[in-house]
Symmetry: C2
Subunit: 173 residues, 2 copies
C-alpha cells in the first residue's frame, strides 16, 4: 500500500499488515488499534464497524489487482496466459487478502464506483470481449486459486499442468 497519510489510511495499512502476517484471526480491532498506538474504541471514529474496515481492505486488494493485471496484459503476445500467471501469482502472494476478497458476498455499496470493473477489464479484453468466456476463464482461475490456497490438491498434483490444460481449452474457443 502507498504511504499511509491520513489516519484512516494508517488503520487500513495496519490491518493489511496484520492480515498478511497473522491471518484473518489476527485482525482484531484491538490488535489493529495497538499497531498504530491507539485503543480499539478509537477506531470507531474512523470506521462505523469492522465490516467497513474489511471492505476497505478489499478495496485496496482490487486496486492492486487492477494495476497488476493491467500491466501483465499490455503488450503481451499471449494476454490470457500472462493474465493467468499474474492472477495466480498475486493470489499466492496475498493469500489471506485474496480469501477475504472472495469468500463472502461483497458489500458493493461500500466500494468505490467502478473499482471492481477496473480489476475485471483486463480479462474481458484478453478473451476478446465474450462475456461468457470471460466468466468461465475467471471462474477457472478463481477455482484453481481457491482450491490451491485451501490445500485441496494432493501434494503430488501438477497444478501448473492443470492451469495449462484449462487455459488452453478456453483459448481454443
Amino acid at each position: 500500500m502507498a504511504e499511509p497519510r491520513t489516519r484512516r489510511e494508517q488503520i487500513v495499512s495496519a490491518a493489511l499488515d496484520l492480515l498478511a502476517d497473522a491471518g484473518p484471526d489476527g485482525v482484531t480491532m484491538r490488535a489493529v488499534a495497538a499497531r498504530i498506538g491507539i485503543k480499539a474504541p478509537s477506531l470507531y471514529k474512523h470506521f462505523p464497524d469492522k465490516d467497513e474496515l474489511e471492505t476497505a481492505l478489499i478495496a485496496e486488494g482490487f486496486r492492486q489487482m487492477a494495476a497488476v493485471f493491467t500491466t501483465a496484459v499490455e503488450g503481451s503476445p499471449d494476454p490470457l496466459g500472462s493474465l493467468a500467471t499474474a492472477y495466480r501469482r498475486w493470489a499466492t502472494e496475498h493469500p489471506h487478502l485474496y480469501r477475504l476478497m472472495t469468500h463472502k458476498p461483497l458489500r458493493r455499496d461500500l466500494l468505490p464506483e467502478g473499482l471492481e470493473a477496473s480489476a475485471a477489464l483486463p480479462l474481458v479484453r484478453a478473451v476478446g470481449g465474450n462475456p461468457d468466456l470471460a466468466r468461465a476463464a475467471w471462474a477457472l482461475a478463481h477455482g484453481l486459486t481457491s482450491l490451491e490456497l485451501a490445500n485441496r490438491f494432493p501434494p503430488d498434483a501438477d497444478i501448473d499442468a492443470a492451469w495449462r490444460t484449462g487455459i488452453a481449452a478456453l483459448q481454443a474457443r
Copy 2:
C-alpha cells in the same frame, strides 16, 4: 442426513439444520446444544472442540456429494454435463455447507479415510481419467459455484451460458 441415532449424530444433525437456516454465524455451541435440549459444555463430552464438530459437518457434506454425483453420472450419455448440473444444484441447495466445505484448509486427519476420494471419483471417470483435465474441470465448477454463491456475477449475467461455455471447452479436449 439419515435418522440421527446416537447423541453424536443428533448434534451433527442439529448443527446442519442450524447452518442451513441461520448461516455460519448461527452455528454457536450454545445454539447447537439448545436445539437438542442440552447445555453447551455438554457438547464437549462428544466433540473435543468446535473444529471437530465442523469437520463432522464437512464429512456429511462429502457423503452427500459422493452419493449425488455417483447417481448423476451413472448411465448418463453426457457424464460431464450431468455432473456439472448436479454439482451446481447441490451447492446452491446447500450454500452454507458448501462454503464451509471449501473455504479453508481441510482437516484431512479428522476425515474418514477415502471419503474425499469417493466424492471426486465420478469426476475423474467423467473426464476419462486425465488428472489435469479433472482438476481443471473441478476448478471451473468450483469457481463458477463459489463466485455465484458470493454474488460475484452482475445480476444480468447469464450464468448458465458461462457453465456451458466452460464445460464445452473442456469437453473438446
